[in-house]
């Protein structure tokens, strides 16, 4: 072997990359392994993409309760309209199918991929690999897919089989065949006309006697805007944090979260004092009125940012 000066190695690498790179139009730059490594976060059922690391069911429990339970419920039962994660076995062919991780999802890898890429809802890609293994293991445990002593790592996790995997098949449409009949195609005597139930849809934009307003999510904004009017610099900084991290629950009243503008819900809390409210927001709260994960599940926020919000 012989040694090359570093500069020569770099020059050789550039020549090599240049030779490989020549696409038909020669547009763009080489995506380096470092660039790809930072963005290549996907996991496949065969285990491709699972990183080193580990997490147990036992480690997953407190993480789940702190970061997931405020929306998904302590037992994966789902708060409000947030997704139900556990239960539902044996319901898929009934009149009330309940599609959960355990009853429906065909692959465990999807759980790891999705928790890591998109959860907690207000703080995506904030979990470490070990935390993701632990929470994934705990959600599998909530579904009786693994035992309470399960430790998830690259090998053990890729080996998990989901019960509903065999029940998926590739799209086989077109599955129905209508014909282009033009006359006497149906017998009106057999018609049953089913009408809509009044009041389930917003119709205020075209019906004056509708009990339901033509509302949309935007209608909840004025309450926030009213606060904006007299905001100090500190409050403005808080508003930005609120929009990014808090609004998902406090805009909708999830898990007993008092809504912005709901004065009666806030009054008891305000009486506990600003220090107590900030402490709850930073450290989390679990009590008769609801649950709040520490920092709303977004640990990347500093204590100062939470207090301002």
């Amino acid at each position: 072997m012989f040694k090359l000066p570093n500069l020569a190695v770099a020059a050789a690498a550039i020549v090599l990359a240049g030779a490989v790179q020549a696409g038909p139009l020669g547009i763009g730059s080489t995506a380096t392994p470092e660039m790809i490594a930072g963005w290549d976060i996907d996991i496949r059922p065969d285990g491709m993409g699972l990183p080193p690391g580990r997490g147990s069911v036992a480690e997953g429990e407190p993480l789940y309760e702190a970061k997931c339970a405020s929306c998904h419920g302590l037992f994966g039962e789902g708060e409000g309209r947030w997704p139900i994660l556990a239960g539902g076995e044996g319901t898929l062919d009934t009149l009330h199918p309940e599609k959960t991780v355990g009853s429906y999802w065909p692959y465990a890898s999807t759980l790891w991929d999705y928790i890591h890429r998109a959860m907690p809802y207000p703080a995506p890609q904030s979990l470490t690999d070990d935390e993701t293994y632990a929470i994934s293991a705990y959600v599998l445990y909530l579904n009786d897919i693994v035992d309470d002593d399960f430790v998830a790592d690259r090998e053990s996790f890729a080996a998990v089989k989901m019960p509903n995997e065999p029940n998926f098949y590739i799209d086989n449409r077109p599955d129905v065949q209508n014909t282009r009949c033009m006359e006497n195609c149906a017998d009106p005597a057999n018609f049953t006309i089913v009408t809509t139930i009044n009041g389930v849809t917003p119709t205020g934009h075209f019906k004056e006697d509708s009990g339901v307003a033509a509302n949309h999510y935007g209608d909840s904004e004025p309450a926030v805007k009213a606060v904006e009017v007299a905001m100090s610099d500190a409050a403005t900084a808080g508003k930005s944090v609120y929009d990014k991290a808090c609004q998902a629950c406090h805009g909708m009243g999830v898990a007993g979260a008092p809504k912005v503008g709901d004065a009666s819900a806030w009054v008891d809390r305000i009486q506990t004092g600003m220090a107590s409210m900030s402490s709850n927001a930073i450290n989390g709260y679990q009590g008769p009125n609801g649950v709040m994960p520490a920092k709303g599940g977004n640990m990347s926020l500093s204590d100062e940012e939470v207090s301002m919000a």
Binding site: T30, W39, S109, E183, N184, I193, T196, H205, E208
Partner: protein, 438 residues
């Protein structure tokens, strides 16, 4: 100028009643609603136009003709007229949170086949990211000869195409599987839009990176909080997928993936990944959350279809509809839209009697593959009740099915891909209601 005066409340009510006498049906009620709202608002500015509407009618000089109007670039990027009320709307109870939700296009208010960018339906899984295009990159890697990172300027150097294509959420109509539920066209069919999209064919980009022979699938991933991801078969990518930066003559709207999105023509909307940051070529699909837990179709036997990509042939009458009742007896043009994820619309038929007898309609001038296509039937209405339906046929010969045919095959819990013939009940008063015939 209009004479300004402040009428007493009884006088105003009398004026409203007089104006309303000459009207009928919805028009009259809408007018009364407007007048009453003006009274409730206690604003003379609001009241005067209502009470004095005839001041602008012939033979009088219209108020807006009596002084100079706004000059050029007073609004460098214009708005619709203040008299229009074109807006996306949602049904809040459908989802837990606005950042992972859907809103619908006001099909009842649109003209032609192009959806204005501002009212294209919205579907987010983690809200709209605020992407700086100078700092946005598309990485293409995996089973390729030359992994590339592309800037927006790089992408615009490639040969480009502009195509008019619809995008539809597979859940469009999904609230109606087990019964008529939504009381408006915007909510029964509004997860549907059609735009002109400009970008580069994905096949061109794949030539540039050189797909290895074992490459069969592509993972498309967004730069949103959900990291939205879908597995796309290579055959589709080589067929007609485009990577788009333009929409209706300008940059994509943030709602539609600014600065870069995938567009899979004719396929369920969520596969057209927005805020596209990464394409990975692999030898098998990824089975991510939005192609296992969601966007799979549960059948009555408890098994599920997956990779149900195509949006099958569908149509709906857009006028009349619940939001646009029949106002006058006599001549009426029944108008509607048809579309198919498998190609061009070949024909559309309309029935006035719930599908017993059908009449052929005239298609609009533009019949473009995988795009909204207009249809029209000129007829007479003299107060008789109608069970108004439309039935589209695409160039593959597929005939839009009845609701019964779909339900017999798929039951009531598959959520997605409900493309059955839709029924409006037009009543003697001209009002229109969403009904189902079972």
């Amino acid at each position: 100028m209009t004479k300004l005066y402040e009428p007493s409340l009884p006088k105003l009510m009398e004026a409203i009643a007089t104006e309303a006498k000459g009207m009928r049906g919805m028009d009259r009620r809408n007018f009364l609603k407007g007048g009453i709202a003006a009274v409730a608002g206690l604003s003379s500015v609001q009241m005067i136009p209502k009470a004095n509407a005839s001041a602008n009618l012939p033979p009088n000089l219209p108020e807006w003709q009596s002084y100079l109007g706004r000059g050029v670039v007073a609004k460098p990027y214009g708005d619709p007229s203040e008299f229009e009320d074109l807006q996306r709307r949602t049904v809040p109870w459908l989802t837990a949170d606005a950042a992972s939700s859907i809103s619908m296009t006001p099909l009842q208010d649109l003209e032609g086949i192009i959806t204005p960018s501002g009212v294209v339906f919205e579907r987010y899984h983690g809200g709209i990211p605020n992407v700086n295009p100078d700092q946005h990159r598309l990485i293409i890697h995996g089973l390729v000869e030359r992994p590339l990172v592309l800037t927006m300027d790089d992408l615009r150097r490639f040969p480009s195409v502009s195509q008019i294509r619809f995008i539809e959420c597979p859940a469009n109509g999904g609230m109606e599987w087990r019964g008529a539920q939504m009381e408006a066209l915007q909510f029964t069919h509004g997860m549907l839009s059609c735009c002109e999209w400009t970008g580069v064919k994905l096949s061109t980009l794949l030539e540039e990176v050189g797909v290895k022979p074992e490459g069969k699938w592509i993972l498309a991933e967004g730069a949103d909080a959900a990291g939205m991801s879908r597995s796309i078969p290579l055959e589709k990518a080589l067929d007609d997928t485009i990577i788009a930066w333009g929409q209706n003559g300008e940059a994509l709207r943030p709602e539609q993936g600014y600065p870069l999105r995938m567009l899979n023509p004719g396929w369920e909307g969520n596969t057209s990944v927005k805020w596209l940051r990464r394409l990975e070529i692999g030898d098998q699909p990824w089975h991510h959350r939005e192609e296992t837990s969601k966007y799979t179709d549960l059948m009555p036997d408890g098994r599920s279809r997956r990779f149900t990509y195509e949006q099958e042939c569908n149509s709906v009458v857009t006028s009349p509809c619940p939001e646009k009742p029949l106002m006058q007896r006599g001549f009426v043009e029944i108008r509607g839209l048809a579309w198919s994820g498998r190609g061009k619309i070949k024909a559309v038929d309309v029935s006035l009697d719930g599908g017993v007898n059908w009449q052929r309609t005239e298609l609009g001038e533009l019949v473009i593959p995988k795009a909204l296509t207009q249809f029209s039937l000129k007829t007479q209405w003299n107060g008789e009740p109608w069970l108004l339906q439309s039935r589209a046929i695409d160039e593959t010969g597929y005939v839009q099915p009845t609701l019964k045919q779909l339900r017999d095959e798929r039951g009531g819990w598959s959520i997605y891909h409900k493309n059955s013939i839709h029924t409006w009940n037009v009543t003697e008063s001209g009002e229109v209601f969403n009904v189902q015939i079972t």
